[in-house]
Each structure stands twice: as structure tokens, then as C-alpha cells.
């Protein structure tokens, strides 16, 4: 069992959970993920490790409530527990040794970009983060990223930072400061737009993918993605890949496989679902 020691609401549908997982906290590296299962008949869900505290034996998970399983997870309060956490899985982030790294995060993806930026910063690279959200309240991890370098914030409605998409800010940055490597994590359309922007400029671009996954150890093949001419498994070959080679259309399409089921699951069999998107009052 993995006890929740801290819970914070980061945005209307994004929640941070700090949970006990001593071994994983000790050995995880930026870019790696865990498979989480709440218990009972719950699903196995892949979640990128956003941070770790080896001294306390905890890892930080940042969860966007999108379906029944994630809503149940974010409803957990300190003292409650997650039954299963397996990992750390996947390969750590590919890093370069020097230069300027640009980390682009969209929505909950910003939480995944954070450990990458952390790793690069500790290595001595110059890090610029470009993060975005629908509006001010959806922007997360801004302060944490500011500790690691410059941060450019974009919002769709202009309620905070620059009005527009992260790709607009990235385009300007690439034409002025340039970049040696770009990391992009967020919704598939955002990662595709970043890759489309950097491809002609030949700026190496790493994306972190989160396809449908069951076991996370290479066994099911559900997470297969087309990278270049090859089929790769995100769980064991990734989760990070060369963004210039990923078939984003296929990824986007496969992510929709269970949409109808998600809607059915959202309608709880025991009547209207009471698991809300926002945090219950703190106790």
C-alpha cells in the first residue's frame, strides 16, 4: 500500500499527490513513469513521475481527472492509500551535455516537463520553459520552473502571460535565442505542432507519449506507436521519442479507442456519479 502524504489542487482538473514509494523514489530518473492501480477492480494507469523525495521515500504524481479512474485517484485524501504502484518504468530522458534546452509544457504535461527541466538544470544547461493552459487557473508548475530558468507563460484567452499557443512563443524564441534541444509534453495536437515547427529547423525534439497501456512492461503491446517506419512500444522503448518521427495522427486516433467506454464508466451504476472534479473540503 502507498499512503498519500500530500494532496494539492493545481488547477481545476489537475491534482498533485505525494505518495509513499520508497524504492521508486530512490532510483527513478527524469522521464520515467509508474503504473498505478487504486485497488479492487481498478484500472492500471501509467503516470509520469513528476518529482521524488528519496529522503522521505515519496514520489509526486500529477493527475488530470479525465475519466472514472483518474477521478477516483484525485479524490484520495492524505492518509488514504493507493494499492499498487509499479516502477520506475520506461527509459529516462535523453539529455544533452551543454547548450540551451527549451521545455514546452501544455496543461498537465507541464508536470512531466518539470523533472526533465530539473535534470537539465542540474547538469548545468540553460533551460527556458514555455508553459500554457486555457486560462490563468490552468497554468501549473510555474514557480517550480522559474527556479530552473526563464519561464514564458501562454494562455488561450490571454488571461495570463501571452495570449496564444505555446508554439507561438516557441517560434519567437527559436528565431531569437535558438535552441539545441526541445522537449515537448502535453496534448497530442500541441506536441504535433511543436514537432512541425522544429522539424524544418532541424532542432532535436523529444516528446513524451502517453498512449493506452495495460501492463507497462512490454507484454500487451497496446501502447504501440509508429516512430519512423517502426512500431515501438511506449512502455519499454519510450515513453520519450524523437518528435520528428512520431506518427501523431495514429497516436491521437488510438487514444480514442475507449472513448465510448469512458462515457459509460462515467455514468456510475449506483446512480449519478458524485466524484467531482474539484477537491472536497480539506479535513
Amino acid at each position: 500500500m502507498h499512503r498519500v502524504v500530500q494532496r494539492r489542487q493545481l488547477s481545476p482538473n489537475v491534482t498533485l499527490l505525494e505518495v509513499e514509494a520508497a524504492r521508486i523514489a530512490q532510483i527513478r530518473r527524469p522521464g520515467q513513469f509508474v503504473i498505478v492501480r487504486l485497488g479492487g477492480n481498478a484500472e492500471r494507469i501509467p503516470l509520469t513521475i513528476a518529482d521524488a523525495n528519496p529522503a522521505e521515500g515519496t514520489i509526486t504524481l500529477v493527475i488530470q481527472a479525465v475519466g472514472k479512474s483518474t477521478r477516483e485517484l484525485v479524490a484520495l485524501q492524505p492518509g488514504q492509500a493507493i494499492q499498487d504502484i509499479a516502477g520506475p518504468l520506461g527509459h529516462p530522458t535523453e539529455q544533452i551535455d551543454s547548450g540551451h534546452a527549451v521545455c514546452v509544457g501544455g496543461g498537465v504535461g507541464t508536470a512531466v516537463v518539470h523533472p526533465i527541466a530539473q535534470g537539465l538544470h542540474h547538469k548545468g544547461l540553460k533551460v527556458t520553459s514555455i508553459i500554457g493552459g486555457r486560462s490563468r487557473e490552468w497554468v501549473i508548475f510555474e514557480q517550480e520552473l522559474r527556479a530552473l530558468g526563464d519561464v514564458l507563460v501562454c494562455t488561450d484567452d490571454g488571461s495570463y502571460g501571452r495570449k496564444g499557443f505555446v508554439t507561438d512563443a516557441l517560434k519567437d524564441l527559436l528565431s531569437t535565442a535558438g535552441a539545441d534541444i526541445v522537449y515537448a509534453v502535453g496534448p497530442v495536437p500541441m506536441m504535433r505542432a511543436v514537432a512541425t515547427l522544429t522539424r524544418p529547423l532541424k532542432v532535436r525534439t523529444i516528446v513524451s507519449l502517453n498512449p493506452v497501456m495495460v501492463d507497462g512492461t512490454g507484454m500487451c503491446g497496446g501502447c504501440r506507436v509508429s516512430v519512423g517506419a517502426e512500431t515501438r512500444f511506449a512502455c519499454v522503448d519510450g515513453p520519450e521519442f524523437d518528435g520528428h518521427l512520431v506518427d501523431f495522427d495514429e497516436l491521437m486516433d488510438r487514444l480514442g479507442t475507449y472513448r465510448e467506454f469512458e462515457q459509460r464508466a462515467a455514468q456510475c451504476p449506483d446512480g449519478p456519479c458524485r466524484i467531482g472534479l474539484t477537491a472536497p473540503a480539506a479535513t
Binding site: 524504492r23 492501480r37 477492480n41 518504468l89 501492463d215 512490454g218 503491446g221 486516433d253 479507442t257
Partner: protein
């Protein structure tokens, strides 16, 4: 009942037929197909054994169960002793009594089978194992005194469980690391409920735990711990992590929505209980017409699962004929009874999709059988121009699995064959001293019982290896 029958009288007894769920009913539920012998049938079947002086059945069994002995104890009315004898030879009799291909192992060797039907050894094993599970308090575990040696087993499938069961009885301190959240390996993620109820696996695992085996789930060796760390913390290692990497057909359209590996399809349904959706949270695409590609036991499991999930039609696409199918005869027979359709001499060349990229069919080519290949089976060859389209909305690819490189890729010193399987010597030891391996990670995809045989052999080899090794202080 006494065993006073003459051989002639024994020969007169007909093989008892396993009671089964009605095909029409069972094709729509996940309850076990075979219902098991009632006591009377079991005792009649036991009387059919001739108690041969030189029994061949034992040699046919990969774990060398002393078959005539436990059957004899049954006929003497001493079921507890029969169970004790069986459990001494086989750590998972409730499993093997249900899933072993007896017809190619013990029963094919049965001398009675020379003239008529062999003894229903598998059915009797199942009967005794089920009795044992329900009367655990009447059974004593004989355990050697503690040796102070710690052994770690990687994987809790049939090979790992067997090895652990043997090792703990030899007095060693045994820990199993399992990557998934539930112990059992292929017994829980692969083999469906209707062939091997999960309750049986749970109870067999509980018995091993009661014997002292420790099981830690969610530990992915190769990620959570490196093999080298295990070597430092334990006196010996047994790797039995299976052949978990699915093989795909490598044809266009394979990444369309609705194409599953058999591993994924069966894991969703078995381990994650997707057939209970939405009571269980993991979904599975049910499909109206489900095409399963392959001819082995896994293909049979998948296609029969599809039928039970509610597919109007579930069919097998196999490139050879029924005679070459590697699946157990009983499974093929059961599938036929359940209304499974077979498309023989057919090989897919493309998965077809609709405008929304959902599967709509399989483009196939008809095959003919040519000269025998390396496996001794006739090699299927495409008939030029003989194409057909099989309508379907779900495709399950069940054409085999390969060694999962997750663990092996993290220890370059571990010697592998060109297929990525771990190379072992006759004792089951790998190129690393004190590290043993068995089951599918060594053999490639094989059967539960062969994996168990490896586990049993490796346990003895580990015991001997530890006995020859001086005691050292271990770090944990």
C-alpha cells in the same frame, strides 16, 4: 472401495466422461467448462488404472508425478494420502489437472491406451487436487529445517511458483518478485476463467504462501531492481519471467483501432476482469465479428473468450489445417461445440479499416500445404491470386510471443541465444554463477507443465548448488 478388481475386470470399465457445462449455455458465460468428477466417477476411473509394474505414464509427465501411486491410494479409499503423494510431486496439481495436454504426455504413454482409452489421469489429478484444496487442514507439509539460505524467484508464473514451492520445502527462505499486481503470471493474465478459475490459482498460491513462500507484487526486475542487486542480496536467483513480448503479423493496418495482441486481449479480460465492465474499470472491445489469427491454445482461449463476451461470430484464421493446429485437442473440440468458426489455410495480408480507422475486415490469402518445414509440419504456401476478405470488427493476433528483453537487456553478462532467450546448462544455470532460469524465458513459448518441470529441476539444482557453496554473510 477396495482395490480387489482383477485386471480383466478393470479392463471392462469404460473411461468416465468429464461432466461439462452445456455448450450453448457456456458459450455465453465465463464459468468453468469442465465440472469435475463426482466421487463415484472418480473412483471408477481410478479403478481403470492397471497399476503397471513398469509404468510409462510417469516418464511422460514433465514433473514425473508418481501417477499409479496416487491413483492406487484413491482406490484404497485414502484420498488424503493420495493428495499428499500428488502434492509431493507437483506444486500446482489443481492447475495442471485442468490445463495440461495429458493426451500428448502421461495419457499417451498409458498402457491401457494400447487397447481402448487411456486412464483419465488429468481428470483424476484434478479431482485429488480439488479435494486437497478443500481439506487443507488434513494435509501436513513436510519441510526441511531452515538452511539460512535466501533465494529470489523472478516471476510468479507456473515455473516460478513450482520452484518456490520446492525450494521452501527444502528449507530455503524464498521470495518471489512479481511484476504485475497479482501473482500467477500466465495463469491469471493468460488462461481464461472458463478453463482455469482464478479462485483455483489464488488458492494454490495461498497454499504456497502458507508453506512460507513470500510474494512481492509490483516489482519489475530489470527496472525496480537490477539483476546484479538481487545477486548481492540473495544466495541464488531463479529467473522465470516468461516470454511476454507479443509478436505481431507485421502487415499494413495492424495499428488500426480494434487490433489486439492476444496478450492484451486476454489480460484485459482475465487479469483486469473487463468482462465485468463497468463493474470492473478496464474496458475491452467486444466486437460483432471477432477474428483470431493463430492455431495454438492462446488462439483458442482468445476466440472462445470473444464468443463469451458476446460476439455474434468468433472465428479462427489459421494458415495450416486442423491437423497441424498446435492447440490441445480438447480445446479445439470445445471451441467447435461452442460454435467457433474455423477458416483454415488462410493467412492475413492486411487489416482493413473504415474511414474512422476502426477495423472492418482482414484481407487474406488462401494457402496450400507444401513440403515439411523445420518444425516437421507442412509449410503453408500462398496460392497466387486466391485472395478473400474476412469481415470482422475486432482482430486478435495470437501467433506467438518472444522473450521480453526488459530484464535481460539490463544485464549484458547474461548469455542469450539469437532469439533473446536465456541460455542455461543442464542444471538450469545461466552463464552467471548462482543465477538459474527456466520456463518460457528459456524455452520460448511452451506449456505450463514444461515451465513447471523447469522450475522443479532448477529448484533441485539450486539446492545442490547452495549445498556446495560456503555460507557467506548476505547484505540484506
Amino acid at each position: 472401495m477396495s482395490s480387489s478388481l482383477s485386471p480383466r475386470e478393470r479392463m471392462k470399465l469404460d473411461r468416465q466422461k468429464m461432466p461439462e457445462q452445456d455448450p450453448a449455455a457456456r458459450a455465453r458465460n465465463f464459468a468453468e467448462v469442465n465440472l469435475g468428477f463426482p466421487e463415484q466417477m472418480a473412483l471408477i476411473e481410478a479403478e481403470r488404472c492397471l497399476q503397471c509394474k513398469d509404468p510409462r505414464c510417469i516418464k511422460g509427465c514433465p514433473v514425473n508425478v508418481k501417477i499409479p501411486r496416487f491413483i492406487e491410494l484413491m482406490t484404497e479409499g485414502n484420498i488424503a494420502a493420495a493428495a499428499q503423494s500428488l502434492l509431493g510431486d507437483n506444486s500446482l496439481p489443481g492447475v495442471t489437472g485442468r490445463v495440461c495436454p495429458q493426451e500428448t504426455q502421461c495419457e499417451i504413454e498409458c498402457i491401457r491406451g494400447n487397447k481402448g482409452m487411456p486412464v483419465g489421469i488429468g481428470y483424476l489429478e484434478r479431482y485429488v487436487a480439488d479435494w486437497a484444496r478443500n481439506h487443507r487442514d488434513q494435509l501436513a507439509t513436510t519441510k526441511a529445517p531452515p538452511t539460512g539460505r535466501r533465494v529470489v524467484v523472478v516471476g510468479s508464473g507456473p515455473s516460478g511458483l513450482t520452484a518456490a514451492g520446492e525450494l521452501v520445502r527444502l528449507g530455503h527462505d524464498v521470495t518471489i518478485y512479481e511484476a504485475l499486481h497479482k501473482p500467477g503470471g500466465v495463469l491469471v493474465y493468460g488462461i481464461p476463467e472458463f478453463r482455469l478459475p482464478k479462485k483455483i490459482v489464488e488458492q494454490e498460491v495461498e497454499r504456497l504462501q502458507a508453506d512460507g513462500v513470500k510474494i512481492e507484487c509490483n516489482v519489475v526486475v530489470g527496472r525496480t531492481y537490477a539483476l546484479q542487486e538481487l545477486r548481492e542480496q540473495f544466495d541464488a536467483v531463479f529467473i522465470a519471467n516468461g516470454a511476454g513480448l507479443p509478436v505481431f503479423m507485421n502487415v499494413p493496418g495492424e495499428n488500426l483501432k480494434g487490433v489486439y495482441s492476444a496478450n492484451e486481449y486476454l489480460t484485459r479480460v482475465n487479469l483486469m476482469a473487463a468482462y465485468e465492465f463497468p463493474r470492473a474499470d478496464t474496458p475491452v472491445l467486444v466486437g460483432r465479428r471477432v477474428a483470431v489469427v493463430g492455431g495454438g491454445n492462446v488462439a483458442m482461449d482468445a476466440v472462445r473468450t470473444a464468443r463469451r463476451l458476446g460476439a455474434e461470430q468468433a472465428l479462427i484464421i489459421y494458415r495450416r489445417t486442423k491437423a497441424e493446429m498446435p492447440a490441445r485437442v480438447e480445446e479445439i473440440h470445445h471451441a467447435e461445440e461452442e460454435g467457433i468458426h474455423f477458416e483454415f489455410l488462410t493467412a492475413p495480408v492486411e487489416v482493413l479499416g473504415n474511414e474512422k480507422r476502426w477495423v472492418r475486415g482482414l484481407k487474406c490469402v488462401r494457402m496450400k500445404l507444401g513440403e515439411p518445414d523445420a518444425s516437421g509440419r507442412a509449410r503453408p504456401e500462398p496460392i497466387p491470386g486466391a485472395e478473400l476478405i474476412v469481415d470482422c470488427d475486432v482482430v486478435v493476433v495470437a501467433i506467438g510471443t518472444r522473450a521480453n528483453p526488459l530484464l535481460t537487456s539490463t544485464c549484458p553478462d547474461l548469455k542469450l541465444n539469437p532469439h533473446g532467450n536465456i541460455v542455461v546448462d543442464e542444471q538450469g544455470m545461466t552463464s552467471l554463477p548462482g543465477v538459474f532460469a527456466g520456463g518460457d524465458i528459456v524455452r520460448g513459448a511452451a506449456t505450463v507443465i514444461l515451465a513447471m518441470g523447469d522450475g522443479k529441476r532448477a529448484a533441485r539444482a539450486i539446492d545442490a548448488w547452495l549445498a556446495a557453496k560456503p555460507h557467506a554473510t548476505t547484505s540484506a
